[in-house]
């Protein structure tokens, strides 16, 4: 690929424009040169309009000069050029099992929207990440039910649980499980039309289809899938037209016995801005919750990641990080990558000292955020009592439960010793704290309401 003309033109622009002008408006442009035509492809309408308004004349003038009187026509449009992409990192999805026909440059419609031409069965781009399998999923108490249900679905698509509805907080592995089902289905039946997409993408595709009068092709495409995996359906909230279209797609797939898997950050009934008929349909199959992973699972996840990277990651370091990062797996992964990147770059081995130094600011921040006082305030607000009640000697049930919950959360979320926690709860003995923590652990097993309260507060405090 030789874009000599544009290269010359760019050199001139680099002399005349500031870095910010270049980097914001000129360098996102892709280029195609054919005979006497130079086509500049902008990633979207805004870049296109801005370049047309502010740089078109300049570019044309430079072209006139550098092309040495050749009559070159400048064309500006939205589109992309299939450029030699760099290899994706190993953790990404380097190989798409069945690539879509190569995208030609240009038309706006081709932003990944299904085209009017029905694709052959093999030509479906599933968007699945091959790294997300059941084997690479770390199972723990918090997610075993979700994993078991997903496996069932992968073995018996359309039969076992339909739709399978996975819900829980961010970064807990919902998407991983969804991909794992898709990957297993493709393993069993390589010609299955399995498609994963984020709900935002579904909405985007639909809008583009409407704009280009291609809604029938859109319907045909989605209703012909064997398995549709839609992530984060809470983003459908408030988008009525998309909900309606999704509702019909959903019904068509379900009636045809095709599998649907949905994820959401909360229970179907709790999603505001979602039509009642959708909410109730989402609940038809099996809603399964994924909870934040407990300490042992977090450690196992870190060890698994280290194993995949083929590096030595001492247990004590895994425990250290897992104790500090409790809210979700994505953040755990972020911290892991940071330690690994630093270790790779400096050539130093991963030790406790090294991990502490590398994550210094993160740890300081977390220590600042989650304090015992903060926990007491959150619990008091949650139960609509006063913080001072938690420190008092009052023994009514309405006070002791929240107090015990606050104690258990303090033990889980801070690194204070039990005597220190006791001190912060009105000078109580450390055995009282221990008793409170045990009581809550017991109640969480037997009383769903207590468990839910605990998890809610954990979420509030961890985020």
């Amino acid at each position: 690929m030789n874009n000599a003309l544009w290269t010359n033109c760019l050199q001139r622009l680099e002399q005349e424009l500031s870095d910010q002008q270049l980097n914001t408006w000129i360098r996102p442009l892709q280029v195609r040169e054919d005979n006497h035509q130079l086509t500049l492809l902008a990633p979207n309408r805004f870049v296109l309009d801005w370049v047309k308004q502010n740089f078109r004349d300049k570019i044309e003038n430079i072209l006139l000069e550098v092309s040495r009187d050749d009559d070159v026509n400048l064309l500006l449009e939205i589109g992309t050029q299939s450029s030699p992409a760099k290899p994706a990192p190993a953790t990404e999805s380097p190989v798409k099992p069945q690539p879509v026909a190569p995208q030609k440059s240009a038309p706006v419609t081709d932003f990944g929207i299904p085209t009017k031409v029905a694709k052959p069965r093999q030509a479906i781009d599933s968007n699945l990440n091959p790294a997300f399998t059941f084997e690479s999923f770390v199972e723990g108490k918090s997610n075993q039910l979700a994993k078991a249900a997903s496996q069932q679905v992968a073995e018996n698509p359309g039969d076992a649980y339909n739709p399978l509805f996975l819900y829980g907080g961010v970064g807990l592995g919902k998407t991983h499980l969804m991909h794992a089902v898709g990957n297993m289905m493709l393993k069993h039946r390589p010609d299955a039309k399995v498609v994963y997409l984020h709900s935002e993408r579904f909405v985007g595709h639909m809008i583009k289809a409407l704009q280009h009068n291609a809604i029938d092709a859109f319907k045909q495409y989605y209703r012909s899938l064997d398995c549709m995996l839609i992530d984060d359906i809470q983003f459908f909230a408030g988008k009525e037209r998309s909900q309606e279209e999704f509702f019909h797609t959903f019904n068509a797939l379900l009636e045809g016995g095709h599998q649907i898997i949905l994820t959401c950050d909360r229970y179907p009934k709790e999603v505001d801005g979602l039509e009642e008929r959708l909410r109730s349909r989402f609940g038809w199959g099996l809603p399964v919750c994924i909870e934040p992973p407990e300490l042992e699972t977090r450690v196992a996840i870190l060890q698994k990641k280290a194993e995949e990277s083929g590096i030595h990651f001492p247990n004590e370091v895994a425990f250290f990080i897992a104790k500090r990062i409790r809210s979700n797996i994505r953040e755990l992964e972020g911290a892991f990558r940071r330690v690994m990147a630093t270790a790779n770059f400096t050539g130093k081995p991963v030790t406790m000292e090294f991990a502490k130094e590398t994550l210094r600011d993160l740890i300081a921040l977390q220590d600042r955020i989650v304090t015992i006082e903060n926990i007491q305030k959150t619990v008091a607000e949650y139960y609509k009592i006063r913080s001072s009640d938690l420190l008092s000697n009052r023994r009514s049930r309405s006070i002791t439960r929240p107090r015990q919950l606050a104690m258990a959360l303090s033990k889980e979320l801070t690194n204070h010793s039990l005597p220190e926690i006791g001190e912060a709860f009105g000078g109580r003995d450390h055995t009282t704290i221990l008793h409170g923590c045990r009581k809550i652990a017991e109640l969480r097993e037997s009383d769903a309401k207590i468990n839910e309260d605990y998890m809610n507060m954990m979420r509030i405090l961890s985020n």
Binding site: L17, N23, R27, Q30, F111, D265, L365
Partner: protein, 234 residues
């Protein structure tokens, strides 16, 4: 009709200001700088977030990454969120086709549902496409004012680094480099004076320096302490 979001974007940027890694004084941030440079060369991490107060070199770092990447014909885009926040999040459309996207000052678009969802979706698309994204913010994802928890967690997907403040000796070096770029000579004595008599963050220091640069050009004077006093404390 789509909105035209950039009416307020000034075209009068200081012309030909060049951001390079060589001109970046890393101080205690050498590792972050090296990782960003690696990313711009198409290796290493595919998502990095740096956060720090203003004046700590975030914009310089992002633009230097764009400049370096474009040298090897990569398509890149630098978006200053503070300047585009008045527009529409559709500016993110199609950016996953580029090799690297850099978004500066992301705090400026937080708490707007449209922008938060837009950024969230962009990060997902870039990850799916195997491309790279470099983000800069004043606050860490944990303490940022983000409404969308999904976005907060995605910001922490790759390594998150705090850019530490430069020590005084490095600030002096940074000022001298910048002065040199404008063809000004700045002695240690003068640099020390600026550092000890005025606000010390680099943003303010650079602003003052640019002011002095213009004045020195107009008045044909060298950078001396009496000259500085006459310009900054008239």
């Amino acid at each position: 009709m789509m909105q035209q979001p950039y009416q307020q974007l000034p075209l009068t940027f200081e012309p030909r200001e060049r951001y390079t890694f060589n001109a970046f004084i890393a101080g205690h941030n050498q590792l972050v700088v090296d990782l960003v440079r690696q990313m711009a060369s198409g290796e290493g991490e595919t998502q990095i977030l740096v956060w720090a107060d203003r004046g700590s070199g975030k914009s310089h770092l992002l633009q230097a990454a764009c400049n370096l990447a474009s040298q090897s014909r990569k398509t890149v885009c630098y978006l200053p969120a503070r300047e585009i926040a008045g527009g529409s999040a559709h500016i993110f459309d199609g950016l996953e086709q580029l090799d690297m996207v850099c978004i500066d000052d992301i705090d400026a678009i937080m708490q707007s549902a449209e922008w938060e969802e837009g950024l969230f979706d962009l990060i997902n698309r870039i990850r799916d496409a195997g491309k790279s994204i470099l983000l800069a913010a004043e606050k860490s994802p944990e303490s940022s004012d983000i409404n969308l928890a999904d976005l907060r967690s995605r910001l922490g997907w790759g390594p998150v680094f705090h850019l530490y403040d430069l020590e005084d000796k490095d600030k002096i070096l940074a000022m001298q480099k910048r002065a040199q770029q404008s063809g000004l000579e700045m002695t240690d004595h003068v640099a020390n004076y600026l550092l000890t008599h005025y606000p010390r963050d680099l943003f303010d220091l650079f602003e003052r320096l640019d002011h002095l640069d213009k004045a020195s050009m107009a008045m044909q004077r060298r950078l001396t302490i009496p000259f500085i006093k006459s310009v900054l404390e008239p």
